[in-house]
């Protein structure tokens, strides 16, 4: 589904991704861990199409198409979703209005008719229950004045609404209380299916108790330096990154 090969990306003079490889197949959950500043969010942003980064080498294909050639909105319409580490505040635009616009733009791209108000509301009700989010939050300006946890939950709500093929969650667990963590994890697990895949960026083994990954990767200095089964996360939790850093040299 997603095939990243020798990906290199930089910002200004600073090289951040330095030859990164990753294969994600439908149905899989991949966890990406790694020390601060390793390039995890950069990877997520490059996959979503943020234009601040220069891709200086390598390739990324998604369902056989050249992902790097697409505008961010095309990637979304192709089924990529990024839950932001720091969701952005959009003053004056309600989550409801925002999502309705997004969904119908994606539907347009796919040649589907737009959802009417009734259909949209019905879907929203359903997904609101799933992530236990309140109507009043959704009618406020998107993320504006939301608490950290509310922002994260809103990301998962949007993901549930858009039903992406590939969801990339960038530290969605940070700042969440235990209940919210479970809700977020439930939201992700509900979406798990043989056709979909998820990349979970996290610092904590805890989330992986709820969203059990098929693979765990360690990203360090812009490369994936170690991959393993879910047990690798436990080992990292116990031992930290020093041994990996040592191995990586």
């Amino acid at each position: 589904m997603l095939s990243i090969s020798n990906l290199q990306a930089s910002i200004g003079d600073k090289e951040i991704l330095r030859g990164l490889n990753l294969e994600v197949n439908p149905g899989e959950v991949h966890a990406i861990m790694g020390p601060n500043g390793a390039g995890k969010s950069t990877l997520a942003s490059v996959l979503a199409g943020r234009e601040d980064y220069d891709v200086t080498g390598g390739s990324v294909t998604f369902d056989g198409k050249d992902l790097l050639d697409m505008a961010p909105e095309e990637r979304a319409a192709e089924g990529i979703f990024l839950a932001f580490q720091y969701p952005v505040e959009i003053p004056g635009v309600s989550t409801t209005n925002f999502l309705k616009t997004a969904m119908n733009e994606i539907r347009k791209y796919r040649g589907q008719d737009p959802l009417d108000a009734v259909q949209f509301l019905k879907l929203m009700k359903e997904k609101m229950k799933l992530v236990n989010i309140d109507q009043s939050l959704l009618s406020r300006s998107l993320n504006e004045g939301f608490s950290g946890g509310e922002k994260k939950r809103n990301e998962i709500f949007q993901m549930a609404m858009l039903e992406p093929k590939l969801a990339i969650l960038d530290e969605t667990d940070s700042g969440l209380d235990i209940d919210a963590l479970r809700i977020v994890a439930d939201g992700v697990n509900q979406l798990r299916s043989p056709e979909r895949a998820t990349i979970v960026v996290t610092h904590y083994q805890r989330l992986l108790d709820y969203i059990v990954p098929d693979f765990v990767h360690v990203l360090y200095k812009g490369r994936i330096v170690k991959s393993g089964p879910k047990e690798l996360a436990l080992e990292l939790e116990e031992k930290g990154y020093d041994w990996i850093k040592a191995e990586a040299i």
């Binding site: 199409g49 505008a71 979304a76 952005v88 959009i90 004056g92 635009v93 925002f98 791209y109």
Partner: protein, 441 residues
């Protein structure tokens, strides 16, 4: 003669001559107190001349472009309802009053409010039928000593509207003044003069809308004087949607008594050169003024909003929010003066001006001016000018919203802080539509 005014100008000479011609044709009116004021104002205009950019109040707004135009001072034209069809505001209901080239147009106008709710007269009629009223209020509020354009308007004042709302009355239907400049056959200038008197505990909604027909140049120099007696409430909207050859200079002068409330929105959508002066004197305790503004120049357009709030009495409140979206090579000016007099303790005055600049060729000049002579006051002001938020754009795009769409959505939301304040629904809806069109162009 101060160097900050142009000393000689053909247009000025033409206007002075027009005054003398008018005067020749007058009979009794010539001796009226009204006309004496006009004469004083003319002298003042003659002395002041048109301002140059060396004048502090006109530093960023050069009227040279205007002075290069030539205008036909004969404003007569024939206009039918069909001609106005393209300028229609859908579903608009209320007292709709048309001025064509500055002249009240009875056939096009429609007055529906009963006379016990509101008295509406053209200025020309009022001079004849109620000279006392005119003498009591005309030019008592708007300053023609220092402002050349107000002096010019005062000197040439002959038509416009006079509105009087009796005490304890709510005017149920809004009053909409539509100023149409018909430039289809010639360049037109007009000097509309309006007077609005809102009695004790009375309430009214009013809008001024400015449109141009045709390809010629227009110059509208308008003065509106508004008096709110104690406990009066007024919604006042000024909307300009003129052409690329429209010059517009306007002053709205508001005088508020105790516990009166004034809510205004000034929306500038289109015009070559637009200067809006909104001057409010809070001349009573517990008086409150809310001022909202939205301007969206593009091309080489220039929009200048000058506001002045004069807190003259204790316990008054003012709150101001102006927002600008500037594209291409347009320029914008916001100059907001807050004046708190020594007696005006417990004043609350807030001012904010926020701008989005969409192109590197566009410029915004902001200048908040606080002059505070009382010690127990709460005042704040802030101005921001920036580009469209890239983070927000990326966030929206990453959810599937195309770039242009995302941009429009963000800017539309930005404009909503102002448009949502407009309580005459058809006007708000019309503006929302035009703003959207302008953003998607």
């Amino acid at each position: 003669m101060t160097p900050s005014y142009a000393s000689y100008n053909e247009f000025k000479e033409q206007l002075l001559a027009a005054f003398r011609d008018n005067e020749e044709r007058m009979n009794g009116e010539r001796k009226s107190p009204l006309h004496q004021i006009r004469r004083t104002a003319l002298k003042q205009f003659d002395q002041l001349g048109f301002p140059t950019i060396r004048h502090e109040e006109w530093k960023y707004s050069s009227v040279n472009g205007l002075l290069k135009q030539s205008f036909d001072l004969d404003e007569t034209t024939t206009l039918t309802m069909e001609d106005l069809a393209p300028l229609e505001i859908p579903n608009l209901d209320g007292n709709i009053i048309y001025f064509v080239n500055g002249r009240y147009h009875a056939e096009l106008s429609r007055l529906i409010s009963p006379a016990d709710q509101v008295q509406i007269l053209s200025f020309a009629e009022a001079i004849k039928s109620d000279p006392e009223l005119i003498d009591t209020h005309f030019a008592r509020y708007a300053n023609y000593q220092e402002n050349a354009f107000t002096a010019l308007n005062t000197a040439l004042a002959s038509d416009g509207i006079v509105i009087r709302v009796p005490a304890n009355t709510t005017v149920e239907q809004p009053i909409i003044l539509r100023f149409i400049t018909d430039t289809r056959t010639k360049n037109i200038t007009s000097q509309p003069r309006n007077l609005v008197l809102v009695g004790k505990n009375a309430e009214v909604m009013m809008a001024e809308s400015y449109r141009t027909l045709g390809e010629g140049a227009s110059f509208v120099n308008v003065v509106t004087e508004i008096v709110l007696e104690r406990d009066a409430r007024m919604q006042y909207y000024k909307v300009q949607n003129e052409t690329e050859k429209a010059y517009h200079i306007g002053t709205t002068q508001v005088n508020q008594a105790d516990n009166s409330h004034f809510y205004s929105a000034t929306v500038t959508l289109n015009g070559n050169f637009v200067r809006n002066n909104l001057n409010i004197v809070l001349n009573g305790q517990q008086a409150e003024a809310f001022m909202y503004g939205l301007y969206m120049p593009n091309g080489r357009q220039h929009v200048d909003n000058h506001t002045l709030v004069d807190h003259a009495m204790p316990n008054s409140y003012s709150n101001e929010l102006y927002k600008g979206i500037l594209d291409d090579n347009s320029t914008g000016v916001f100059n907001g003066k807050i004046f708190v007099r020594p007696d005006a303790q417990k004043t609350n005055a807030y001012q904010s001006c926020k701008n989005v600049v969409l192109s590197s060729g566009a410029t915004m000049n902001t200048k908040p001016q606080l002059e505070i002579f009382a010690d127990d006051v709460k005042c704040s002001h802030g101005t921001t000018t920036g580009q469209l938020n890239d983070e927000a754009l990326f966030y929206m795009r990453s959810r599937g919203i195309p770039k242009d769409e995302a941009r429009t959505l963000l800017l539309y939301a930005f404009s909503q802080d102002v448009l949502s304040q407009i309580k005459i629904q058809p006007i708000r809806e019309y503006l929302e539509k035009v703003v959207t069109q302008k953003l998607t162009k």
